[in-house]
């Protein structure tokens, strides 16, 4: 009888502990959600309403990020837009060595993680779609719109 009684006590204590824990979590949670200040992050880009919108590609460009739709784009989005905007990538033009050096710099100084097998995929994607073109020492002026000046 005695071992059985001990087990019953143990079981009772366990149930009681779980019960108390649940109460704590419940009230703690209620307290937290009631008291926290509404926190909205200035840096967050509004997330597209649904998955379908997010995957939308128009004229070969991924609408939500502005990336050129090509092999390696998803890996690039996943690894490169956590900390900074896609715009920081798409406005730059670099050789494969240049992109590689940028990744290494971010790993050494900006807390970028090891990209593993994705590194090859990302480097292929960037060096193909965001390669430099020769601009010379000064380019022609581009006029967005001619207008009459009175």
């Amino acid at each position: 009888m005695k071992p059985n009684f001990e087990e019953q006590i143990k079981a009772f204590v366990s149930v009681l502990a779980i019960f108390l824990l649940l109460i704590l979590v419940l009230f703690g949670g209620l307290f937290y959600f009631n008291n926290r200040k509404p926190k909205i992050n200035l840096e967050e880009i509004p997330v597209e309403a649904n998955e379908e919108d997010y995957d939308k590609v128009e004229n070969g460009v991924h609408v939500a990020t502005g990336f050129i739709d090509d092999k390696g784009m998803q890996a690039t989005i996943q690894n490169c837009t956590g900390c900074h905007s896609a715009k920081l990538v798409t406005q730059n033009r670099m050789s494969r060595e240049g992109w590689k050096a940028t990744i290494v710099w971010m790993q050494e100084t900006q807390n970028l993680w090891d990209l593993g097998a994705n590194e090859e995929l990302i480097l292929n994607y960037l060096s193909k779609n965001y390669a430099p073109t020769n601009k010379g020492r000064r380019q022609n002026l581009e006029v967005a719109e001619w207008y009459e000046l009175n």
Binding site: K37, P38, K39, I40, N41, L42, E43, E44, I45, P46, T81, C83, H84, S85, K87, L88, Q91, N92, R93, M94, S95, G98, T102, Q110, N111, P132, N134, K135, G136, R137, R138, Q139, L141, V143, A144, E145, W146, Y147, E148, L149
Partner: protein
């Protein structure tokens, strides 16, 4: 508050006093930062935005046309009543902390128009391309800043004769979210820190500094790369060596000490910190692309600046630099303010023209017509500004 955010604060009366709601969350950055819709967003994480030449026509740049350059995340929940500035560092024996109120009450206030240009303004033109935000022409402003002199505050604290440099610390946070990292902590040599015009500013154009430009306190070092003008300022360290904060080393805001051929890889030890910005100018009227009638004269105007120096001559050319003609040039309203120029141009016959603008500083240096010396991060592009005009 509404002025800072550029929007009415609905239910503002329910907000705790001095609580600063960074989050009034308009996903529209033009509304969020009270910017003109003609401004160009280069980056949204972190926020970077530039003007176009024709938007900068005002003598004093209003907030709506002022470029935004951020390295990290804008601080949230700013409370001006508890905001402090701490002066410390190797060359300070007794570190001292001031509240905003103390700074305003204890020291004489000064107002100056100060030209702030991003070191990377014009980066987009470099070849081979340089890494970073691809600024074109619009990362420059000249607003009216009001604050106290950094020199007065440093003298109140007392600094040792071995002081070499000051470095700033601020409340913005690193993009990775790592609280141990500062997004940027730059500074200037002690001589620049002690200039009359180097301010700890708390107002811009007569109002609280807009949030994106450093509310509630900003170090302002006119004529130097704008990255030396630390926003959301919480501390100044007076150093007995060149400040070694974030973005003081490597290729950040540094150029090869000796000029290099385009595309050259340059080792860190051969890079030197940018100090004064070079001579430069912008035609702010008319906007590029003007069609004018045969025989009509064209009035142009704009601004010119030269870092620590003054602009002594301003010229324009309508024949691709073959001949140059003087513009009327005003003196700066104070040292380090940009100067205004204007000219009246007659064109000989119908055709396509480019109006080129060239400023010369008080030491005789002029703007180049093509890209100046290439450098790994594409700083200091002061090639002459050009606008396209057709006489029809």
């Amino acid at each position: 508050m509404a002025g800072i955010l550029g929007a009415e604060v609905v239910f503002g009366h329910k907000m705790p006093q001095n609580y600063f709601p960074v989050g009034l969350q308009d996903p529209d950055p033009f509304k969020l930062f009270n910017k003109d819709r003609g401004m160009v967003v280069l980056n949204d994480k972190p926020w970077n935005m530039e003007a176009k030449a024709h938007l900068l026509n005002d003598d004093i740049t209003p907030n709506k046309y002022m470029f935004i350059r951020n390295n990290g995340k804008i601080p949230e929940n700013i409370d001006v009543s508890t905001w402090t500035l701490t002066i410390d560092g190797e060359s300070v024996n007794n570190p001292k902390t001031y509240t905003l109120d103390e700074l305003k009450r204890k020291f004489t206030q000064y107002t100056y128009r100060l030209t702030l240009e991003c070191g990377g303004n014009g980066r987009s033109e470099f070849n081979p391309p340089a890494k970073g935000n691809q600024w074109t022409l619009g990362a420059v402003s000249c607003a009216e800043w009001t604050g106290v002199r950094l020199r007065d505050v440093l003298e109140d604290v007392g600094i040792s004769p071995d002081a070499v440099y000051i470095g700033y610390h601020a409340a913005d946070t690193h993009l990775s979210g790592d609280p141990r990292k500062e997004p940027i902590s730059r500074g200037v040599p002690i001589a620049k820190a002690m200039q009359d015009e180097t301010l700890l500013a708390f107002s811009m154009n007569g109002e609280d500094i807009p949030l994106a430009h450093g509310f509630p306190l900003r170090l302002v070092c006119g004529g130097w790369p704008a990255s030396t003008s630390g926003k959301w300022l919480t501390g100044i360290s007076v150093r007995n060596k060149v400040h070694d904060g974030e973005k003081m080393g490597g290729s950040s805001y540094r150029v090869p000490c000796e000029t290099v051929a385009p595309g050259t890889k340059v080792d860190d030890e051969n890079m030197c910190i940018i100090e004064s910005m070079p001579v430069k100018s912008l035609i702010t009227f008319p906007k590029s692309g003007a069609l004018i009638k045969n025989g009509q004269t064209l009035q142009i105007n704009g601004h010119a600046w030269a870092g620590e120096l003054e602009v002594s001559k301003m010229e324009y050319s309508i024949d691709f630099g073959s001949t140059w003609h003087n513009c009327a040039l005003k003196k700066p309203s104070n040292r380090l303010a940009w100067q205004h120029f204007k000219a009246s141009i007659s064109f000989p016959k119908k055709g396509y023209y480019e109006v080129w603008a060239r400023a010369t500083d008080s030491q005789g240096k002029s703007q180049p017509m093509v890209l100046p010396g290439w450098n790994p991060k594409g700083y200091l592009n002061n090639a002459c500004h050009r606008i396209a005009v057709k006489m029809v």
